[in-house]
């Protein structure tokens, strides 16, 4: 975000704040659903926006604004759980899918060399790699079908940019397990994009 725009935002400009809501609201919902559940995520994120609006003047700009908003939303989610005396829905146990084969496993020979190497991807810009019209629909399906714990780590680490050790402590998950979950989530996305870039279909 340009400095001038950031300064205007920090001074409480409601139009710019509404723009922020437009850009990040869905990501914050996706971030909190695996923790508090779909029925409470909207309320949690609404409270997070309120806190963010009240605190925007203190945003130092050291992290990306998404990361800052993500931390606020995670705190709100935890507060909601405490108030309702509930446990986080996140669990790194009891999900058999977590231990299923890696999405790219079929791409290697028995000896572990590439049998079907990655295609050359034509799309260069981060803004458009995952937003092609046809791809967006398949991506939505993939994210919906993804085990909750994988999705949760993906949303926290990659979509919101929260630090890895902070994620492990918030979710009380070991770093080794979190790594496996993140790897599983990323390779599913990689396989989807790779196929789309190679064939134009997904």
């Amino acid at each position: 975000m340009e400095l001038e725009k950031l300064a205007q935002l920090k001074s409480g400009d409601p139009v710019l704040f509404a723009e922020l809501v437009r850009d990040h609201h869905r990501a914050l919902i996706a971030l909190t659903v695996p923790i508090v559940g779909i029925s409470e995520a909207e309320e949690v994120v609404q409270n997070a926006w309120l806190k963010a609006y009240q605190a925007i003047s203190s945003f130092a700009g050291k992290s990306a604004i998404r990361t800052w908003l993500g931390s606020i939303a995670i705190n709100e989610a935890k507060m909601q759980l405490r108030q309702r005396k509930r446990e986080s829905l996140f669990s790194d146990h009891g999900d058999e899918n977590q231990y299923t084969e890696d999405s790219l496993a079929q791409r290697f020979t028995e000896r572990g060399h590439w049998q079907h190497p990655p295609a050359h991807w034509h799309t260069d810009s981060p803004e458009s790699l995952l937003t092609g019209e046809q791809l967006a629909e398949c991506l939505e399906k993939l994210l919906t079908a993804m085990p909750d714990n994988q999705r949760c780590i993906l949303e926290m680490r990659d979509a919101s940019g929260l630090p890895f050790d902070e994620i492990c402590s918030e979710l009380t998950v070991s770093s080794a397990n979190a790594r496996v979950l993140l790897h599983r989530a990323r390779t599913q996305l990689f396989k989807l994009v790779d196929h789309y870039e190679e064939t134009g279909e997904c």
Binding site: A18, V21, R22, D23, W49, F108, P118, P126, V193
Partner: protein
């Protein structure tokens, strides 16, 4: 000697600079020798940069609902 499968399993941590020195050296050597894995890690990095943009923008109604709530708190 690291296989391509091993490389792929370590690529996330390579990008996060979270590998032990011995593994990092093995991964770097593999990378020098294998163009497929060079492509894999380059495109994985590109994918990770694209993930923050994967969510749709909120609808006008969703934005209005959030802003209305903020304004009603401001007025109380």
């Amino acid at each position: 000697m690291l296989s391509c499968r091993d490389f792929v399993n370590n690529a996330d941590q390579l990008l996060d600079r979270d590998l032990r020195v011995s593994t990092r050296i093995a991964v770097r050597i593999h990378l020098l020798l294998c163009r497929h894995c060079r492509r894999y890690v380059k495109q994985l990095a590109r994918l990770i940069k694209a993930i923050p943009f994967m969510h749709n923008k909120a609808t006008e109604e969703e934005v209005r609902k959030v802003m209305d709530c903020i304004h009603s708190h401001e007025n109380t």
